[in-house]
């Protein structure tokens, strides 16, 4: 078997081996990650912030925006 041939087969074995090993590990890691994530109460602080807090923020922002708009309107008069 030529040297090139040998390298080719080596690459095939090594490559497919690594790809499968890596993706199998990734499958387990993903599954584990999902299990862990699902145990976190409320799933995700970012995804579902407590409504009150979020609302509070939003309200705050709306207030500020309203003031800014009012101020701007006054200026442009």
């Amino acid at each position: 078997m030529s040297d090139l041939m040998q390298q080719g087969w080596q690459l095939l074995v090594l490559g497919m081996g690594t790809v499968f090993t890596f993706l199998i590990i990734l499958t387990f890691a993903t599954t584990a990650m999902t299990l862990i994530v699902r145990r976190i109460p409320q799933a995700a602080p970012v995804a579902t912030p407590t409504p009150s807090q979020r609302n509070n923020n939003a309200l705050q922002m709306e207030k500020i925006a309203a003031v800014a708009a009012a101020a701007k309107a006054a200026h442009n008069r």
Partner: protein, 388 residues
Amino acid sequence: MDKLLKLVNDSGLANIEFGQVVMMLLGLVLLYLAIARQFEPLLLLPIGFGALLVNIPGAGMAAAPVYNELGELVSYGGLLYYIFKMGIESGIFPLLIFMGVGAMTDFGPMLANPRTLLLGAAAQFGIFGTVIGAVLLNETGLVSYTIEQAAAIGIIGGADGPTSIYVASQLAPELLGAIAVAAYAYMALVPMLQPPIMKALTTKQERKIVMTQLRPVSKLEKIVFPLTLLILVALFLPSAAPLLGMFCLGNLMRESGVVERLSDTAQNALINIVTIFLGLGVGSKLDAASFLNLQTAGIMILGIVAFSAGTATGVLMAKLMNKLSSQQLNPLIGAAGVSAVPMAARVVNKVGLQANNQNFLLMHAMGPNVAGVIGSAVAAGVMLSYLG
């Protein structure tokens, strides 16, 4: 008078070589495929145009800069030279494209059914099988490839443009033009190449299998996944880190929801700018000397082998998994493991509908489809580690 003569002597007609004519015709063919047949136009249009530009005799669009003996710049290089050197040979453009693709990718369907990652693994046989194909072609004595070239050709089977360009630019830049053209052309041909193989390897009964509906995936899972992937890459295959790292960055920008303006730019202005340049730069490698040879002919043949092999092993893997598990997969979705996002998933959906017109496989095929992107980036990492 001698100045008029100079102008005439400088003209394209007086200098054009046969090879340049052929390559300009090839450029026009690529433009035809891009525009009239809508073969991956985002890349094939600038690639085809780059092929026209680089083959204009005397225009020097890809000329290197000239320095005198003191190392001072005498004349600047051409636009395509700088694009190629700075953006492609350095690997920067493919990596930025990968970031943008990451920002466009939804891992949801894959997270809902992580087993489909294995289909994305199996389909990478298209890559390594093609390396063997190239080596065998070398044995015939008709064409000569080094192992680096064989590897770069194999990556066509990854069915992923930026990965192909990245690997080819690192391992076999002299073949970059042919490899990129083959990769994009065959990706566009997926709707013709895949169905016969898919049908040959499955029974009508198998193609009718209805899969259970995918579970909903939470936002937090989608945020944590790119980080999980990156950490595994860091632990096990650092040579895949540039590609998968930028991919995960893009995906994290998308899913985190806190940097929408960055995610939006990565998916639009930035990826568009880079795509124009990437296409022109790849096209600038379509010069007669590097393209018109038997190596290119071999690449075109091996490219079909690559796509076909990947499709086949993806489908066969699904059938194997059905043997080993009670949760049945429709084996057609294995074909989506080659990547070619989202074309291959659409093909799966179409072939599935032919067998059962109520069976929509699109979302199920998106899992192996994006798994194929990860799979071929991993394969690229192995090659770069082994040969780089």
